[in-house]
Symmetry: C2
Subunit: 204 residues, 2 copies
């Protein structure tokens, strides 16, 4: 695609670095921005820079936060003894959206993945251990491992479990089973097998 | 969707103003930007602002340009007597991509549309007439109307044709017909009808 202007070209190339955005969408975005007034474009541009310069990670759970301690960690209404370990910020949002969890979180910022060069030191495992050992900001009674059921997720969960064993803290993980609304013949064998192995009392 | 941070929220809302981008994609873009280094985000942000502050419209054809006169209007290799009238900048790119047109352009920046409040004064019709009447930057021999075949496009084309009549300049329009590679039974009736009415000599 030949663009009539270098300035437009550069804006398109920058926008095309966003995930899932090709040159054609990027051009559409750029021409849309051209049609808006200058202040609106400046506002957007500043909001993006503020993302990098002003956004913090909570010093306890490493979730994104505008403040040093995030609203969840500083809330009086949460069960401080419960810590749910997740891979990333989106997972926190997904669990918060269920409105069924009232404990705290611990965002690892990734999972152990030797192929991608992500080791134990690169994610927030040491800070989780410290949190359990020191009881800062609150004594931890239970750690819920809520990592993806991939090789990397399982490895990370297993590693965390092993590291936490000496502290004596209770370690649990998410129930795996047939999704609500799914029929059995569309459920994959591994999930169906686990849901039989981990069957639960019938609630009449 | 409840976001953990106002700064993130604002960036997501700004990104969601782009055409076809919802809250979910906007969050994906924002989290992607968070993962990049600060300079990369600043570069993108500056490229967007430069779009509004540094990009010009060519003084003759109103195409986007980094300079006062665009590369097409200032090229020595183009047929200066030929002016193709299009609705917008994307249309110029589409025609340039065919590599079959060597004349100049005139970008109206829209078509007459009373419903959207776009009248004759809001688009570059007067400057087209001036171009034909004064022969600045070059004497115009033929004006090719290449507007969309919508009510608004047809109205605009008709209006321009009427305005140009006194000048005696040749006015042509794009051939309409069955698209190359299309079979007849998938072509809409209006197109097929026009392609029969405007049939051309068989080239053996």
């Amino acid at each position: 695609m030949e663009l009539p202007s270098k300035i437009l070209q550069e804006a398109v190339e920058q926008l095309a670095t966003l995930p899932g955005v090709g040159k054609r969408s990027a051009l559409r975005y750029a021409l849309h921005l051209l049609g808006r007034d200058e202040q609106a474009v400046r506002d957007m541009s500043e909001a993006l820079v503020r993302l990098k310069t002003e956004l913090h990670h909570c010093r306890y759970c490493h979730n994104l936060s505008d403040t040093e301690v995030c609203p969840i960690c500083s809330s009086e209404k949460r069960q401080k003894g419960l810590v749910c370990v997740v891979e990333n910020v989106q997972d926190v949002m997904a669990i918060e959206n269920t409105q069924q969890y009232r404990g705290l979180y611990h965002v690892l910022g990734g999972v152990i993945s030797p192929i991608d060069g992500i080791g134990v030191q690169d994610i927030e495992i040491a800070s989780l251990l410290r949190r359990v050992e020191t009881g800062d900001p609150a004594p931890v009674e239970e750690v819920i491992i809520a990592l993806p059921t991939t090789m990397e997720g399982d490895t990370t969960g297993y590693y965390i479990h092993r590291q936490l064993q000496p502290t004596g803290v209770k370690v649990t993980t998410l129930a795996r089973g047939v999704a609500v609304g799914d029929s059995l013949n569309y459920t994959d064998e591994i999930t169906l097998g686990r849901s039989i192995a981990h069957r639960i009392p019938f609630e009449g």
